[in-house]
């Protein structure tokens, strides 16, 4: 079973061995509204935990996407760059943002479980 965790910046991360897949949560897409632009990190680049690793823009505003863990970018999802509305449609499955080769698995420990995140999202949006 792969493990899914959540960050306070509203990213989800799914760890499969060394490979982490990262995207933004459904709650985040609901707050952003219609997403019309996505920018992803470059393949082969290294990103640091809590650093900027992309941008999403709605009709209203731009928001940074952060990486919840450090690692090397091994893949990016071209589909969401070509059609950013896919992020609103399926944010936690097919509309993932990027995949990392995770540097330090212990960085996962500080992240939230699904239940913790749902509670957090509810409290912060109230």
């Amino acid at each position: 079973m792969s493990e899914v965790k959540y960050s306070k910046e509203h990213e989800w991360i799914k760890l499969d061995g060394e490979e982490a897949t990262i995207g933004i949560t459904k709650h985040a897409t609901e707050m952003l509204g219609d997403i019309v632009f996505a920018e992803l990190p470059e393949k082969g680049s290294n990103v640091d935990k809590d650093g900027t690793a992309g941008v999403v823009e709605s009709t209203k505003a731009a928001s940074d996407v952060y990486t919840p863990v450090s690692g090397e970018v091994i893949d990016t999802n071209k589909m969401i760059v070509d059609d950013p509305s896919k992020i609103n449609e399926d944010p936690e499955e097919s509309a993932w943002f990027f995949k990392l080769k995770i540097k330090d698995k212990s960085e996962m420990d500080s992240l939230m479980s699904k239940e913790e995140y749902e509670k957090f999202a509810k409290e912060t949006s109230a």
Binding site: G33, D34, V36, F37, V55, T59, K60, A61, A62, S85
Partner: protein
């Protein structure tokens, strides 16, 4: 300060609005469908906009009113026929725009529609410039509802029969539930449409009847993307106290007959008409999908800063990022290559014609 609510506040909540504060009012930024769907519905069918936060200033009393108002506004008010409207400006002595507005001649004076954030200041400025000689009423007992889109005429005509005989930039008195309403054919979306001035107590049932006839409530978010596609200015973003109507590329709103006459700011404007301006408002189309928002810096191909974006978004109907802004006049020609600084990168873009979305105004229709 207490946040104000329009008479449609309960209706906004009923239809699932996300409410934000705008110019001191609690206003809907979007409803359940979201900005893109609301935008497209307005373009394909019709949309209802609560613009009751805007000022409705009625001025009446005295034979010299037209003359005295011409000393303030650069519009040809003497030629204006009863119920005809003109787009104009309240300017300062430097020719800067304090507000952009629509003046309509009524049977006993003028009605001026003012931007929400400017209305109280406008009222004071106009009142003092008129030397308190006339009756001014910034009427807050009235709501203002805009109905925009290709189906607007059909929807409104079912609720208020006869209104689709109005011509663009003209108004008239009509009756709704035995009460007088004032309707103009105008708008802010690039579509055919109407603005209806109606008693606060009738606003909710009126809007419900528009909804029953197929229209939908549209929030400020889509109002902004619609007006940007139509190349229309938003006061505070694209127009301000340091920008003249000539610089804003709104020369068309100043009739030739007024250039040689006196009004507030006329000296500066006359000069600009003769010698030209340093900066000019232009349309901007980025080459890529990157969106350049307000305050984005504009550069030439030699990396010199030449201007600033004042509004920018993704245009849902043109399906491309769009922007407008001010550039040094020597870069204002269509197809000039420019660069927009977004998140530290220089994004290539071109100066382009406005509007991005072609207008669909109706000159008047009697049989539908």
């Amino acid at each position: 300060m207490n946040i104000k609510k329009t008479s449609l506040n309960n209706l906004h909540i009923k239809y699932g609005a996300k409410l934000v504060e705008f110019a001191g009012y609690q206003m809907p930024i979007q409803y359940k469908d979201g900005i893109i769907q609301e935008h497209k519905y307005t373009r394909s069918h019709s949309g209802i906009f609560d613009v009751s936060h805007m000022g409705q200033l009625f001025i009446s009393g005295g034979d010299d009113l037209t003359n005295d108002l011409e000393k303030i506004f650069p519009a040809d008010l003497k030629k204006l026929k009863t119920n005809q409207s003109k787009y104009s400006f309240l300017m300062n002595n430097k020719g800067g725009i304090q507000d952009d507005l629509i003046i309509t001649k009524t049977s006993d004076g003028f009605l001026i529609i003012l931007n929400a954030a400017c209305k109280y200041n406008d009222y004071e400025v106009i009142k003092s410039k008129l030397d308190n000689q006339y009756k001014l009423n910034l009427d807050e007992s009235l709501s203002l509802i805009a109905l925009q889109g290709p189906e607007a005429k059909n929807v409104l005509n079912k609720v208020i029969p006869g209104c689709n005989s109005l011509k663009f930039m003209n108004g008239n008195n009509h009756v709704y539930k035995n009460e007088k309403v004032y309707i103009t054919r105008s708008g802010y979306t690039g579509e055919d449409g109407f603005e209806i001035s109606i008693k606060n107590s009738d606003a909710e049932t009126f809007v419900e009847s528009l909804i029953e006839n197929g229209s939908k409530l549209i929030g400020l978010g889509a109002r902004d993307t619609l007006r940007m596609e139509a190349g229309l200015c938003l006061y505070g973003n694209d127009l301000d106290n340091d920008t003249s109507p000539i610089e804003a590329n709104l020369k068309w709103a100043i009739p030739k007959s007024r250039i040689e006459t006196e009004f507030v700011g006329s000296e500066v404007l006359k000069n600009q008409f003769q010698s030209g301006v340093k900066k000019l408002r232009v349309g901007i189309k980025p080459d890529s999908k990157v969106i350049a928002r307000g305050n984005t810096k504009i550069y030439n191909d030699k990396n010199q800063e030449i201007g600033k974006v004042t509004s920018g978004t993704f245009g849902p109907s043109v399906e491309h990022p769009i922007a407008m802004g001010y550039v040094d006049n020597s870069y204002s020609t269509v197809n000039t290559k420019i660069f927009l600084e977004v998140r530290g990168k220089k994004i290539p873009a071109n100066i382009c014609n406005l509007p991005f979305y072609k207008k669909n105004y109706v000159k008047g229709e009697i049989n539908v």
